[in-house]
C-alpha cells in the first residue's frame, strides 16, 4: 500500500470511527466505554486495511446500525434514565425558585435605588434579574441533585449554567419581539404562545448543554479497564 493510499485509508477509518462514536454518544454510552470500543475498532479496521480489506466492507454502509449492534453486543454501560431525571430535576428545582422569587421580589421586597433617576425601570430590572438568578440556582441545584450519581454530572451542570442564561437572554429578546409584534396583547392564546416559546428555548438550551457536556474531550480517550463478567453456563 502506498503512503497516499495508506493516508486515505486512515482518514476513512477515522471518519468511520467519528461517525460510530457520535451514534454511541447519542445513545448515552459512557465515555470510557466509547473510548474502549473505538480503540478496539480502530485496531480491527487498521489491521484489515493492511490486507486490502476496505473498512466499509467490514462495517457496512449503515454505520448507525453497526454502532447500535456493537453497543448492544458489548452490553455497554449507559447513562441511566438521564433525560427523565435531568428534566424532572430541573423542573422540581425551578418550582421553589419561582415561588421564592415571587414572594421575595414582588411581595416582600422593594429595592430602594434613590441614586437612579428612572427608578421604576431599574427596579424592574433588578426584580427580573433577581427572579432569574433564583430560578437559575434552583434549576442548577435540581439538575445537580438529579445527576449526582451520573458520570460527568459536574460538566453537565456547568454546561447548563452557561447555557441557561444565554437561553434566557434569547428568550427575553424573542418574546419581547413577539409581544411587540402582537401589540402587547394579553390574550390567553398570545400568552400561551409566548410561554411555549420560552419553554422551547429553555428546552433547546438543555439539549445543547447535554450535547456539550458529553462531547469528546481531548485527552480523555484513555480507556478504563473493564473487568470481564463471568457467566454461569
Amino acid at each position: 500500500m502506498t503512503d497516499t493510499a495508506g493516508e486515505d485509508a486512515n482518514q476513512e477509518i477515522e471518519a468511520i470511527l467519528a461517525q460510530v462514536d457520535r451514534q454511541w454518544q447519542a445513545m448515552g454510552v459512557l465515555a470510557a466505554e466509547r473510548a474502549t470500543m473505538t480503540a478496539d475498532l480502530r485496531v480491527e479496521l487498521t489491521a484489515a486495511g493492511t490486507e486490502g480489506v476496505p473498512p466499509r466492507q467490514l462495517t457496512g454502509d449503515d454505520l448507525r446500525a453497526f454502532a447500535r449492534d456493537l453497543a448492544a453486543g458489548a452490553q455497554v454501560g449507559r447513562v441511566p434514565f438521564e433525560w427523565r431525571r435531568l428534566l424532572l430535576g430541573t423542573l422540581i428545582g425551578a418550582v421553589p425558585g419561582l415561588i421564592l422569587a415571587w414572594f421575595v421580589i414582588w411581595r416582600w421586597w422593594t429595592v430602594p435605588l434613590p441614586f437612579v433617576e428612572d427608578y421604576s425601570s431599574a427596579d424592574d430590572m433588578i426584580r427580573w434579574l433577581g427572579c432569574a438568578a433564583i430560578f437559575l440556582i434552583g434549576v442548577l441545584y435540581g439538575a445537580h441533585r438529579a445527576l449526582r450519581d451520573v458520570g460527568a454530572a459536574r460538566r453537565r451542570v456547568s454546561a447548563l449554567a452557561a447555557m441557561l442564561p444565554i437561553a434566557g437572554g434569547i428568550a427575553i429578546i424573542v418574546t419581547t419581539i413577539l409581544a411587540s409584534y402582537l401589540d402587547y396583547s394579553m390574550h390567553p392564546l398570545v400568552i400561551t404562545t409566548e410561554a411555549a416559546t420560552v419553554a422551547c428555548i429553555l428546552l433547546a438550551a438543555t439539549v445543547l448543554a447535554r450535547w456539550w457536556a458529553v462531547r469528546p474531550v481531548p485527552g480523555s480517550a484513555s480507556p478504563e479497564p473493564i473487568p470481564p463478567r463471568q457467566v454461569s453456563v
Partner: protein, 126 residues
C-alpha cells in the same frame, strides 16, 4: 408444500442468532483468529450471510462475558492485530452448549420424524 419465502429467511436468521455464538466459540477453539479472519472462517463453514457487522459485536460481547480473550499480536506486514482465543470459561461454555445443542437437535429430529411417520395415518383416519 409452502415455497420458501421471506418467512424462511426470517426463520433462518433466528436459527442463526441462536447458534452463532456457539459456532464462533467452536471456530476459535480450533485456532485463535483475528476479527475478519473469523468472518472468513464462518463464511467458509457455510455461514455465508454472516458479515463482520454481525460477528464483531458478538465477539465483543463474548469478550465482555469472559468467554473469549484478546491479545495484540505483532504483524510483520503491518500494524498489530488483535487475536481472539477461547478462555477456560469459553471452553466450558462451548462444552455445555454443545451438549445442550445435541440434545435439542435429537429432540427436534425425533419430533419431526414422529410427525412425518404419523401424517399418512392421520390422513387415512380423516
Amino acid at each position: 408444500m409452502i415455497a420458501p419465502g421471506p418467512e424462511a429467511a426470517e426463520r433462518r436468521t433466528q436459527l442463526l442468532r441462536g447458534v452463532l455464538d456457539m459456532c464462533i466459540l467452536a471456530l476459535l477453539d480450533q485456532a485463535p483468529a483475528h476479527g475478519y479472519e473469523l468472518v472468513r472462517r464462518l463464511n467458509a463453514a457455510g455461514f455465508d450471510t454472516v458479515g463482520y457487522g454481525t460477528a464483531y459485536p458478538l465477539l465483543t460481547r463474548m469478550r465482555r462475558l469472559g468467554l473469549v480473550a484478546d491479545e495484540l499480536h505483532a504483524s510483520p506486514s503491518g500494524p498489530d492485530r488483535k487475536v481472539y482465543a477461547l478462555t477456560e470459561s469459553g471452553r466450558q461454555a462451548l462444552a455445555s452448549w454443545t451438549t445442550e445443542w445435541t440434545r435439542f437437535v435429537e429432540m427436534t429430529n425425533a419430533t419431526l420424524t414422529n410427525i412425518a411417520s404419523s401424517t399418512p395415518t392421520m390422513e387415512k383416519g380423516l
